[in-house]
Amino acid sequence: MIPYIFKRLLSLLISLCLASIVIFTVVEVAPGDPAAFMLGINAQDDTILALRKELGLDQGKFARYLSWIGGMLSGDFGLSYTYRSPIADMVGERLWVSLPLALYALGLSVLIAFPTGLYAAAQRGKRGDAMVMGATQLGIAIPNFWFAMILVVIFAIKLRWFSAGGFAGWDDGVFSGLKSLTLPAIALALPQAAILSRVMRSALIETLGEDYIRTARAKGLSKRATLWHHALRNALIPVLTIIGLQFSFLMAGAIIIEQVFFLPGLGRLVFQAITQRDLIVVESVVMLLVFAVIMVNFLVDLAYAAVDPRLRSQA
């Protein structure tokens, strides 16, 4: 168990290091001077030079890379060029939107996918299975932003059950915050649920073909009990991988949904920072997201060890 964890930890650190180099290089190579952008076309040259100096842009690339890494390791993510406020605070505020949204969407996705996948596997080859396959096909094919706009037209404009977007904040209570995240979460969850239920279905079908399942049935266990106690646990491994990947996607990839519902989340922060050439925000937030994705994968690896006894005794 310990060597397994140690190996995973090492690969985590190496991935982070490589990611930071790639991120820094790509962002720095982008054309356009942040100071010139911030001050506009009427600014005089000396004003721009003064701002470049203030933002630390006159230093060499390597020096900037080192101070960025050093700052992150000590918890200081620097000051945004545009807002001039600590990036850590900005990210913290946006996380209060993106994280609950990602968890909400993930929760809905699992809630829809598990019963659907189970039902399809139980009904494999029969009409129920075909219906589920057809529905999930549709769910995967539909672009989530288009689906989001349809939701807005029906539920916000026509029925007025929800607002068309925006985030009400958590200050007025958990319920009002969740209400503003509901339509976005549904828009995000549906395609993910479609994918997840297919994975669940195929993982279950594969497991159900194993010998120990036949033994359990031969021993007299009912179909349902076999499914629950034996098949499900083993089918969870691929499902867990997908859930981990989906969480990473939901955290970082919700940018389009955030645009459609004008939510102040992490995705929109990065998008605006790129257009405003707020290089340091782009670097720090992307690094944070990479860290989150790698961490989630690491946790999924640990979960594997918990679920799969074969991994626990690996030399």
């Binding site: 054309p31 356009g32 545009t82 706009m149 037209v153």
Partner: protein, 495 residues
Amino acid sequence: MPIKTGRLLRISAAALALTGGAVAAAQSDLTVALQLEPPHLDPTSAAAGAIDSVLYSNVFEGLTRFASDGSIIPGLAKSWEISEDGTSYTFHLNAGVTFHDGSSMDAQDVKFSLDRARGEDSANAQKALFAGITDVSVVDPLTVKVSLDAANGSFLFNMAWGDAVIVAPETIENIKTNPVGTGAFEFSNWVQGDRIELTRNADYWGTPAALESATFKFISDPTAGFAAMMAEDVDAFVNFPAPENLPQFEADPRFQVIVGSTEGETILSTNNKMPPLDNVKVRKAIAHAIDRQAIIDGAMFGVGTPIGTHFAPHHPDYLDLTANSAYDPDLAKQLLAEAGFENGFETTLKLPPPSYARRGGEIIAAQLRAVGIQTEISNLEWAQWLEQVFRGKDYGLTIVSHTEPMDIGIYARPDYYFQYDNPAFQTLMTDLRSESDPATRSAMLQNAQTIISGDYVNGFLFELAVPTVANAKIRGLWENAPTQATDLTGVSWAN
């Protein structure tokens, strides 16, 4: 135990009163949507017009200010005297003006603001507005004397800009996140990425605002903006980003649509030093190849006013010179042949992000192709455009909207990105600067318009319009945008 009838009646009455109160209270709160969020809240140290859109006249005020018709009216200065030679301005400030933190606004604050803007390490994006100031002195708490190095007929106009608002030294530290001004509204809260909240200033020195509070919401996506308006999540959307939907709002009795004019001259900027665009016949050919109305209809859904020179058509001194560049593709081909390009030529067309550029650019490319001019279109982000086109001057044609008011003076700068170098025009601008007589100024401005139109410096396309969609019951929203601002001081709900 069942509730007694009397108690039930009292509870229902209270509930009714509460709901009744809630309905009445809603009428003094306004939610305005804007496309762009300000990067921070200091109008004196950034070029972002979005800052002025939220704070100008609402939270911050200057010595003078813009009225809705574009004229310059007194602001914090209630009156002024100008010396004979025009180099000395004495401003008399209103008495009893306080900043939102309670401290009083006096001549010291004016001196502080102007010195800060023109100082050596000033981060003011419009430092040129203060360039001619040689001294600012405090005569007494309500009187300030500003000395200029030369007479400047636009000095009062310059002082009305958002970059010249009066700020206080006590609160300057945190101005970017906690702006403290003298306006009819106080800054209350900023949820970054979402909204800015303002509340009425109870101690305002002038006529108090009718609204109790105002919230600016930031919705950049045009579809989301449309949805928010239709779902009545917001009460008004200034500079509505989806003009294709305007007819739908006009037909809906819940809404009113106001289409006004701005100071944004949208032009096909031409690199006057890049062959063959350095030949005036070629530029004239381009001007005649363009069908302005087709661009307005195709790119702006019919919303916009054609212009024939670099001047706002709603301005009294505007001269309609659109005939100089009337749509005439045959004349364009003839001129090209005379210039030696009967087979046309190829040039670059670099387009920044706004839809007037992207959509308009494709239409213009097609119109130019019809007379033999091939354009290589590249879509750039603003940062790239600034670097390549604006600073690098590495372009043939580009489309951009110049939104600063009264900016015809940019044609007197030979190093400006279109590189137009006409000494006669430069002299005219210098003379205009020191001229204060309104009649002479008018004549000079009209002369200026004629010169740049005749030299075909750029392709003058149209003046950007500002469509505002709002709840039909709102009164007092500005129609035109003489400066970037969303002045809510005179806005109220009708009953």
